[in-house]
């Protein structure tokens, strides 16, 4: 149909010995490399049963990628169902598009909708950190575009090995540069994330990526191919040999030393192509030029054709030689499996073809018309007119195998939970004297997990777009959506692998509670959840139990907090040999602010403001940063109280809306000590703190008050004029609140009664020196 099509020389096709459907029917006993492509015997048998014959080479390629763990969720599906089941009508009220599409969509009001999703790009980021992390951003951003939205921000939760391990620097430099190099080139502000160092992630770093986009309600697009005779078009970058087997082989197996390098399975990104693709797609949406659209990510054309077809009228015919190639030697199977980046597939009515092509030409984006929508219920793929794929698309996209993997509480779980930090060998010499406590606070804020992350975030553009109202290190990232009304969204991601290791059910809930608290701390009303479940091998019953417990915990907690899961991703096989990572469910919560001008930053500014601690403190040091610094991991994580989290959230949201607080910072890893130092260092403004009332009320000592990681707590700065009103609100809600001090702008110190005075200059030096020391 276009001149571009002629670029593909028909002569190339003659090189292949094409395995046609006709041939497959005649040669049932041909040996096929199903095991090398990641399929199990029972799965291959199922493919044969579904087709009523052996698959062709091309069909085998499609089934192997689409039935991979990464694409089919075959080990987690039975458990993930709970996210859809444990939902009330109230929770559904603002959900415009739920789980199952490229990303969920939530109603923001005023005709605005927001879509967000978090995904993993773990395995490629270990093999090739720069490209792995870069294409992680690219993939999640295309998911957002596919929904019809303009992407407006990204975030990156990262988990790497021990900070002093020689390989950590390789992963760190590559992943951070990749996230920056790709994200900065898209014009998307990076507004937050996490950075955790732990040797459990040494061979399996976690590189998760979140993107958020906004749209008008009428612009919501879905991935389906409807309307017989409508044309199917592939546009964006050309298809190359990169990323073949990325989903099936790389993301669905454990690493070990016996296999060859998997570098060729990593995709290579071109952020410029993606940026052009974003603008080009938005122009298509604006002109209502596409009926359905799907990005090409894992499993490439296999995924896009089978999902579009099975979500629409059920049929599609595609000529594979029309695909524009970077490498003309690719076989049909490779073309179907390639995970080359920056590609989209759309369905266009015949009337809109000319307008569609005009938009492509304006942005100089290459495209090729591959075929059309049919009503036959079959996905037919031809190669030079010869049929090489003839399948029911549902069997590829949706009817993959589902496993009820055996799981059981690990035999070691009880002994781990019995091994409390308090009284352990590692707990000897707990600091108590004023000088010891000051040294402990300084050591904490300089530790790898609690130190300043400026080294990372200063490599990301937080300003582009001009709508960033809060960014890391504040508790949540906040982006304005509507420039006239100030309507905006807040986002936070959290996970604590140690808590989840100690108790997967409650650990996952704690991740949700923290992300919820972070969003509320910024003043936003939490609305929706997206999760990235990073676990080891589902074939290990211990790991499978962790996954099942985490999903159960998370879905139960969502019910209590009243916010639905609208999408996410599962990343399994994150283990080296038989050693899995800590179970790491990374939870993202999205909230809404009617006016981002009312957002609450985390730092103190105004001299003389009262500082309040909300919530109560118990002796909860198991799994804490302090225990981690001392090399201990055992016991039970902090207690979860979701009702208290909700109450605290409402207090923080109301206080923000009514101007009762000027600053708020949640307490999480590192407890009160970390929160006080961070609030002071944010704007370089100190405070005088006295915790006697807390110690008396909660029956804890000063060390525990500072380092315990009890949940449901926050530190807020209250203007003098608002103090009475603020206290009345907390009292009326029956929520524990204690005045613990006052902002002191002149001193340049953080003074805590019973702790030697700490100068902000010294704290800042300790806080900021750690990452540069290790990474230059």
């Amino acid at each position: 149909m276009t001149e571009i099509n002629s670029v593909v020389e028909p002569v190339e096709t003659k090189k292949f010995n094409i395995d046609t459907v006709e041939n497959a029917a005649k040669t049932p006993d041909t040996d096929l490399p199903w095991a090398e492509l990641g399929l199990k015997q029972n799965e291959f048998d199922e493919v044969v049963k579904v087709l009523g014959r052996r698959p062709t080479g091309a069909e085998l390629a499609m089934y192997s990628v689409m039935w991979s763990e990464h694409c089919s969720y075959k080990s987690s599906k039975n458990h993930l169902r709970q996210f859809g089941e444990k939902v009330t009508d109230e929770m559904k009220k603002d959900m415009l598009v739920g789980i199952g599409e490229n990303a969920g969509v939530t109603n923001l009001g005023d005709g605005w909708a927001v879509t967000f999703k978090i995904e993993s790009h773990n395995s490629p980021s270990f093999v090739e950190p720069y490209q792995g992390a870069a294409t992680g951003i690219g993939g999640i951003v295309r998911d957002i575009i596919s929904m019809g939205a303009r992407p407006v921000a990204v975030m990156d939760p990262l988990r790497f090995g021990a900070i002093d391990h020689p390989d950590t620097a390789r992963v760190m430099h590559g992943a951070v540069a990749g996230i920056g190099g790709y994200g900065n080139s898209l014009g998307l502000p990076n507004i937050g994330g996490e950075m955790v160092f732990d040797s459990v992630y040494q061979g399996n770093p976690l590189v998760n990526a979140l993107a958020v986009g906004v749209m008008r309600h009428e612009d919501i697009r879905l991935a389906n191919a409807s309307g017989k005779g409508n044309k199917v078009v592939l546009f964006g970058a050309r298809t190359g040999g990169d990323g073949i087997g990325g989903a099936s082989v790389l993301a669905s197996e454990s690493f070990d030393d016996t296999k060859p390098s998997k570098r060729p399975a990593v995709q290579v990104g071109d952020p410029f192509a993606e940026k052009v693709l974003i603008e080009c797609c938005l122009e298509l949406f604006k002109g209502s030029l596409v009926e359905g659209i799907q990005d090409l990510g894992a499993a490439g054309i296999s995924c896009a054709t089978s999902e579009l077809a099975s979500n629409g009228d059920g049929g599609m015919e595609v000529e594979l030689t029309s695909v524009l190639l970077r490498d003309p030697t690719l076989t049909p199977g490779e073309i179907l499996m390639s995970e080359s980046q920056e590609r989209m597939m759309a369905v266009v009515t015949p009337e809109n073809i000319a307008a569609f092509e005009a938009v492509m030409d304006k942005w100089a984006v290459e495209y090729s018309w591959l075929g059309e929508v049919t009503d036959t219920g079959r996905l037919i793929i031809t190669w030079d007119g010869v049929v090489i794929v003839d399948v029911d698309p549902r069997t590829v996209a949706h009817d993959g195998p589902v496993y009820d993997r055996p799981y059981a509480r690990p035999s070691w779980q009880d002994s781990v939970q019995a091994d409390s930090f308090t009284g352990s060998v590692q707990d000897t010499g707990r600091p108590s004297a004023p000088a010891e406590l000051a040294a402990a606070v300084t050591e904490l804020v300089a530790s790898p997990n609690m130190c300043s992350k400026d080294w990372i975030t200063n490599q990301y553009d937080r300003y582009v777009g001009g709508n960033t109202a809060l960014a890391f290190p504040d508790d949540a990232g906040v982006v304005r959506v509507d420039e006239e009304t100030g309507l905006g969204v807040a986002l936070a991601t959290d996970a604590n692998g140690r808590y989840t290791y100690l108790d997967p059910y409650h650990g996952a809930q704690l991740a949700l509670a923290e992300a919820y608290r972070n969003v509320a701390t910024s003043g936003a009303v939490p609305m929706a959840v997206s999760d990235c479940l990073n676990f080891g091998s589902p074939e290990d019953p211990d790991v499978m139990w962790q996954l099942a417990e985490a999903i159960r915990g998370l879905s139960d907690a969502c019910m209590v907090l009243g916010i639905p899961v609208t999408g996410g991703n599962v990343s399994l096989y994150n283990q080296t040999g038989t050693t899995p990572i800590h179970p790491s469910p990374v939870v993202a919560v999205l909230g809404k602010l009617d006016d981002v001008a009312r957002r609450t930053p985390s730092g103190w500014r105004e001299d003389g403001q009262a500082i309040y601690l909300l919530g109560t403190t118990a002796a909860e040091l198991d799994g804490s940063e302090w225990a981690n610094m001392r090399g201990h991991l055992g016991g039970l994580p902090p207690k979860v109280d979701l009702a208290a989290e909700r109450e605290l959230g409402e207090i923080l949201i109301n206080a923000s809306r009514d101007g009762m607080v000027d600053s708020a910072h949640d307490l999480s890893e590192g407890g009160l000590a970390a929160a006080l130092v961070e609030s002071a260092l944010r704007y370089g403004v100190g405070a005088r703190i006295a915790l006697q009332d807390v110690l008396d009320r909660d029956g804890v000592d000063l060390f525990t008050a500072l380092f315990s990681e009890s949940q449901g707590r926050a530190v807020v700065g209250v203007p003098r004029s608002e103090e009475v009103r603020f206290k009345d609100m907390c009292t009326a809600r029956g929520f524990a609140h204690t005045r613990i001090g006052v902002v002191d702008a002149a001193s340049g110190n953080l003074e805590i009664n019973g702790v030697d005075t700490m100068s902000l200059a010294a704290l800042r030096e300790a806080h900021e020196a750690t990452l540069p020391k290790y990474f230059g």
């Binding site: 005023d110 005709g111 303009r150 540069a177 920056g180 190099g181 900065n184 080139s185 898209l186 014009g187 906004v214 008008r216 071109d270 952020p271 410029f272 192509a273 940026k275 052009v276 603008e279 938005l282 122009e283 604006k286 942005w363 100089a364 975030t457 200063n458 490599q459 990301y460 553009d461 937080r462 300003y463 582009v464 777009g465 001009g466 709508n467 960033t468 109202a469 809060l470 960014a471 304005r480 509507d482 420039e483 006239e484 009304t485 981002v596 001008a597 930053p601 730092g603 500014r605 944010r682 704007y683 370089g684």
Partner: protein, 257 residues
């Protein structure tokens, strides 16, 4: 309620009646990122922003041009090296060199494009620390007589965001000496040189003062709540960059009177 404008549609209607007649063109190349931000800055300063597309062959009826930041054509070659050949650039070069002396501001990638176009001398290479850097940067306005700095005073210090990978300004000593002697060093980094730029140079002008380029981003410091003070709170204000845009608008309106 506002729609999110498409790139190339970033029309911003003037807020200030006195300045509304002043039309500032904002150029979009494929890969430009800060064009809507620049258009917003023009609007907040009171003027009318007019979208310009790289492939346009006419400048239309604009009184000044902003070339915003980004990665034009991906900048996989040398930053700005391809953009200088865009059809619109030849029009901008001609207009800047004409007797009318069209005011042109190049920000970040725009500055790189201006040096590649030889409207400004010197060049930008990779930051000396080899990393992308995003930070709030204090600048000293060394020359308040250019089209884009009239609303500042010489010696004034302002804080605007800086964010780039290839921001190290270089030129040979002869060029640098000439720039200094002619008062064409318009901005200097204060306190910290973020990229190894020669003589702490953050921005320069042509001899006539109508063409100015700088690496930091004044268009990201034009609105309370979204600038360096709100995001990082370590000095300066949120709106230190607004003066670039009010300067040129006032000059245009004054000139039209």
């Amino acid at each position: 309620m506002t729609e999110l404008p498409l790139i190339g549609e970033a029309i911003a209607v003037a807020a200030e009646p006195r300045l509304a007649g002043a039309r500032i063109g904002v150029v979009t190349f494929p890969g430009t990122l800060d064009d809507r931000d620049a258009a917003r800055a023009v609007r907040l300063a009171g003027g009318t922003a007019v979208p310009l597309w790289h492939a346009d062959t006419t400048l239309g009826d604009v009184d000044a041009v902003v070339i915003p930041g980004g990665f034009s054509y991906g900048d996989y070659l040398r930053a700005g090296a391809i953009a200088r050949f865009a059809p619109l650039m030849s029009k901008i070069i001609d207009a800047a060199n004409s007797d009318a002396k069209l005011p042109v501001l190049g920000i970040c990638n725009g500055f790189q494009i201006l040096t590649e176009s030889h409207l400004l001398p010197g060049s930008m290479i990779k930051n000396d620390h080899l990393k992308f850097m995003c930070r709030d940067q204090v600048l000293r306005v060394e020359n308040s007589n250019t089209a884009w700095t009239l609303d500042y005073t010489a010696g004034q210090e302002i804080t605007v965001p800086l964010k780039n990978q290839d921001g190290q300004y270089i030129a040979d000593d002869k060029v640098l000496d000439a720039l200094e002697a002619e008062g064409r060093v318009v901005f200097r980094y204060v306190g910290f040189n973020p990229n190894g730029s020669r003589r702490d140079i953050a921005g320069i002008s042509n001899a006539a003062g109508n063409v100015v380029g700088l690496m930091p981003h004044p268009e990201h410091a034009v609105e309370v709540g979204f600038g360096p003070e709100s995001l990082d709170g370590i000095g300066g204000s949120d709106t230190d960059g607004l003066g670039f845009f009010t300067s040129v608008l006032n000059k245009i309106v004054g000139g039209n009177k």
